[in-house]
């Protein structure tokens, strides 16, 4: 069935792109959002492998629990100004 392959390719692309987004985006808050996208698209892979229950748990536990917890921590520990990251980064570049 060609549809399955198309679906796999599509969601593999989404998974990898959002995972890259998690590690490359500068704001932790954006990373958390991308993590949510990645986790949801992984749930789709689970469904395609006949693991509907695990996919459901993925959505409930990961997206509904872990991700909310992480988002909460992002809010709690947020730095007041976002320019700091750039400054220290520039600092690092000079040093290395």
């Amino acid at each position: 069935m060609i549809y399955e392959q198309i679906a796999f390719a599509l969601f593999a692309f989404i998974t990898l792109a959002s995972a890259l987004g998690v590690v490359l985006l500068r704001e932790p808050w954006h990373s958390a959002l991308m993590l949510g996208v990645a986790l949801l698209s992984i749930a789709v892979h689970f469904v395609m492998q006949a693991a509907e229950f695990v996919a459901m748990m993925q959505v409930l536990v990961y997206v509904g629990g872990v991700l909310i917890l992480i988002t909460f921590a992002v809010m709690l520990t947020e730095r007041e100004d976002a320019t700091d990251d750039t400054e220290t980064n520039a600092d690092e570049v000079v040093q290395t």
């Binding site: 500068r26 704001e27 229950f53 730095r79 007041e80 400054e87 220290t88 600092d91 570049v93």
Partner: protein, 165 residues
């Protein structure tokens, strides 16, 4: 949060090469492995109920005709994970609770004059780099000004080292 998404570049070249190299290596291994077709699961069986039987070790309930073979019993793991969640709860409570004067508090903090009244804090602070007098040594990394601002604004909310109240 109102800023638009930005990509981080720079300082990532070496780790990037490393990660790509690792992926290449692992992909090479997979591509050299000849997988057959997937066995899959029989159509007639409800996988969710089989999952439940496996998790609670109910072997006699696992449907016999055309069942899913070779699934292990996870009853032991189930017991064990109950204890793990206990431990996580306990640990998270210990870490996230805030205390003043050696006693846990629930309300928002008030000022504290002497941070070192607890025995746990004294005696060891001597060697732990500046002890508990808050942000002083931390901000030496080149962001003095904004950390100081940070601690005055956020300090009233979450500080319990007490030095900058």
């Amino acid at each position: 949060m109102t800023t638009k998404p930005r990509l981080r570049v720079g300082r990532v070249l070496l780790p990037g090469v490393l990660a790509v190299g690792l992926f290449g290596l692992m992909a090479l291994i997979v591509l050299n492995t000849s997988f057959g077709g997937s066995q899959g699961f029989p159509e007639s069986i409800a996988i969710t109920s089989e999952l439940g039987y496996a998790m609670f070790g109910l072997e006699e309930l696992q449907s016999t005709a055309g069942s899913i073979p070779n699934t292990e019993s996870f009853l032991a793991a189930f017991f064990l994970i109950a204890v793990v969640l206990d431990a996580a709860l306990d640990g998270a409570i210990v870490l996230a609770k805030r205390e003043e004067e050696g006693k846990p508090v629930v309300a928002l903090p008030s000022q504290r004059d002497d941070p070192d009244t607890t025995r746990s804090a004294t005696g060891r602070e001597t060697a732990a780099d500046g002890g508990s007098d808050s942000t002083g040594s931390v901000t030496a990394t080149g962001s003095d000004a904004d950390s100081a601002a940070d601690s005055t604004t956020a300090g009233s909310g979450t500080d319990d080292t007490g030095g900058d109240a």
